[in-house]
């Protein structure tokens, strides 16, 4: 029988605040916007993974900012194919390594396989290929860098855009408050595949983020990490506050940090003294049109989702 995820990560190589890896497999010189929370998250992911890794990228901001030919910001092998298929491409890379190692064509048994995409590439157009790869049990880590809209094409709404947010395709108006639907919970969808490891993370809690990445890479089988990734450009906030925004989203319980190991849910940040959601919403002009009524509605929803999450964590 396969080793459980809990056993696999019992002795994983934990990162401490005093010993953050100095490596930068995603190196500087890329073209991300000022204050980009997504590239910060991806940088932390790569610091945790090091150099013995193959990266598969979905089309999106992180693809274009890091790879304009003939330049590259990648010190590790990196493959971009299309928007909706990062998980499928990673499936092929992983399977190739598995069989070539088995047949003695190569001797590289310890390579880590990372696929990443934005929320559009994960929650919308790439959901099918992600589900397929998770279900088939490939030994890879998928990271969703969630900046809550299609930022690369100019801030259009996705299924991961939060309720009430203004985007270029969910504009508030006389008959609309902005995004009319609630954010899709892709981490829960990933967990429903009963894969060894699922987690959420925020770059404001960078040690936690890197250690979750380490755990995801350590387990045998698929791992999924959903990372909240502030986009000052799209969220209409000052680039200097993106880490603060990434902290507030957790402190208001809007984006809870948790992990699901072998199907067991556990909060990794209990947020004992939550701040009201308004503290978070007021940091970004994408929410500035919201009325008190709508803000109360969001608060109620956040409270309910937190209760539901606590129930999931009771075992």
């Amino acid at each position: 029988m396969m080793e459980s995820a809990a056993e696999a990560i019992r002795n994983y190589e934990k990162i401490k605040a005093s010993k953050i890896p100095r490596v930068e497999p995603l190196t500087n010189g890329h073209r991300a916007c000022q204050g980009c929370g997504e590239v910060l998250a991806l940088r932390l992911v790569m610091k945790a993974l090091g150099h013995n890794v193959i990266v598969v990228s979905a089309t999106g901001c992180m693809e274009i900012i890091s790879s304009p030919y003939p330049q590259t910001a990648w010190e590790v092998p990196w493959l971009h194919v299309a928007f909706e298929n990062a998980a499928a491409v990673a499936s092929g890379v992983e399977a190739a390594y598995k069989v070539m190692n088995r047949k003695g064509k190569i001797n590289q048994p310890d390579v880590t396989f990372l696929a990443y995409g934005g929320d559009g590439g994960t929650a919308d157009i790439g959901l099918q290929s992600l589900s397929g790869a998770l279900e088939r049990g490939h030994n890879f880590l998928y990271v969703c860098l969630d900046n809550e809209a299609y930022m690369n094409t100019g801030i259009q709404r996705s299924s991961s855009t939060p309720y009430g947010a203004m985007t270029t395709t969910s504009p508030p108006g006389k008959k609309s408050i902005g995004q009319m639907t609630w954010k899709k919970n892709v981490a829960a969808i990933a967990a429903a595949h009963e894969i060894p490891y699922v987690a959420t993370a925020s770059p404001a809690f960078h040690i936690d983020l890197m250690n979750k990445v380490r755990k995801g890479a350590t387990v045998k089988g698929p791992a999924y990490i959903h990372i909240f990734s502030p986009c000052p450009t799209g969220w209409r906030c000052d680039p200097s506050v993106s880490v603060e925004v990434a902290r507030l989203v957790v402190q208001t319980r809007i984006f809870p940090l948790y992990e699901v190991v072998d199907g067991k849910w556990r909060l990794t940040n209990k947020v004992k003294h939550p701040k009201p959601v308004i503290e978070y919403l007021k940091t970004q002009r994408r929410f500035r049109h919201l009325t008190e009524k709508e803000i109360n509605k969001i608060q109620q929803r956040v409270d309910k989702e937190w209760e539901d999450l606590l129930k999931r964590c009771e075992y």
């Binding site: 598969v56 790879s67 003939p70 990196w78 499936s91 047949k103």
Partner: protein, 391 residues
């Protein structure tokens, strides 16, 4: 020589893939391609082929997984038909641009709609401009040989392009034909283990699939076009070596009874065998008729076609696909372009036939020949026609 066995052509494809010792197979079911991947899954399950069999959740992912596997340096196979190929097309363009030597069998089937599981060449024509090398088989033996040839060509360091072997769905894929198999030792003489010149490897990191800014996109496309053009030399060379080793020689364009032909039928795929019977019958009656059958579809064998056509008076181009309200069927565009450039002006009429599994009989070919000869004699403007439409 290997032994001759009666076997379903789809299983012969799988057998060739096994002999090629592929590493990764991405499989998604679609009729009429399914028997190929079903049999491959059996070969893997029985331990006869050591490969990763990935039962993906769509053809889009079949092609994407193949790209990942090939980029990692694995010998890769997939197969599809029709709608499956349509779903793959986005990634097929990228596979050829990344210069990945994936081999795919396409059991040709009509495109929806209306939905039809039966044979025509709509899917082949859909993938025409994807940058893949394409060969088109006439019979089971050719299918078997072309699959091995495909790996030999695709992986040649001078080529490094993905390759399709087309076989007609049902009319070829599901037929039981006598096929002379090659032994593993024989195949090993022809096909060496694949060593990717560059691959996804942490010990030698490369960036693959970067953004092509306007400053480089045109050059990238030009380089790819040249690579496809230059592959023809290797395709022919690999056929010659195949012939020298195993006694079966292939060429980009096959001709049949063309020595003194005044009227030629130009056709792709297995229907050429029906046309042969018709030609034999017409020859018995003294008609000077022959067949021109391109085996290579991409890169397009223009020189060989000119050579075959140069003395004919009438050329009946048979298309197995429609290009709705274009200037006929897709194959006719290509042929007209070739002839224009060569300053050849036979009486060319385009017959669209055998769509969505409609039978094309021996008599139909005789009728086509009579029609083109009579039209030419009367000097009628040669407009394309869809054959055997029920009024």
């Amino acid at each position: 020589m290997g032994k001759r066995v009666g076997i379903e052509v789809s299983l012969a494809v799988s057998h060739a893939v096994m002999l090629a010792d592929v590493d990764v197979i991405a499989a998604y079911p679609i009729t009429p391609q399914t028997h190929i991947v079903e049999h491959l899954s059996e070969l893997v399950a029985d331990g006869l082929l050591d490969a990763e069999f990935i039962p993906v959740e769509s053809e889009h992912s079949a092609m994407s997984t193949s790209v990942g596997a090939s980029a990692a340096g694995a010998r890769t196979f997939t197969a599809t038909s029709s709608q499956g190929l349509a779903l793959m097309v986005e990634i097929m363009y990228i596979a050829s641009s990344l210069r990945l030597p994936i081999v795919m069998a396409v059991a040709n089937r009509a495109l929806s709609g209306p939905i039809s599981i039966w044979n025509d060449h709509g899917d082949m024509m859909l993938s025409r401009d994807t940058g893949w090398i394409q060969t088109v088989a006439e019979n089971g033996q050719e299918v078997f040989d072309l699959v091995l040839h495909a790996y030999r060509v695709a992986e040649d360091p001078r080529v490094m392009l993905p390759m399709i072997v087309n076989l007609d769905g049902f009319t070829l894929s599901h037929m039981i034909e006598p096929i002379e198999f090659l032994s593993q030792e024989e195949v090993n003489k022809y096909l060496r283990p694949y060593r990717a010149p560059i691959r996804m490897d942490p010990e030698n990191p490369i960036t693959m699939g970067p953004v092509g800014m306007p400053e480089v996109y045109t050059e990238a496309k030009k380089a790819q076009d040249e690579a496809l053009k230059n592959s023809k030399k290797v395709i022919i060379e690999a056929w010659k070596e195949f012939g020298d080793l195993f006694g079966r020689y292939y060429s980009p364009v096959e001709t049949y009874r063309m020595e003194d032909a005044e009227t030629a039928i130009l056709i792709l795929g297995s229907l050429a065998e029906t046309a042969m019977t018709a030609v034999d019958k017409m020859r018995d009656k003294g008609k000077k008729v022959g067949i021109i059958r391109p085996r290579l579809f991409r890169p397009f064998p223009a020189d060989e076609i000119v050579e075959a056509v140069k003395n004919v008076k009438n050329l009946a181009v048979i298309d197995r696909a429609v290009a709705l309200n274009g200037m006929g069927g897709p194959l006719s565009f290509e042929i007209r372009s070739v002839l224009y450039d060569a300053n050849l002006h036979p009486y060319l009429k385009n017959y669209i036939a055998g769509l969505g599994g409609r039978d094309v009989t021996v008599d139909d070919f005789s009728d086509i020949v009579s029609d083109i000869e009579s039209c030419a004699q009367k000097g009628v403007k040669p407009e394309y026609t869809i054959v055997n439409v029920r009024e």
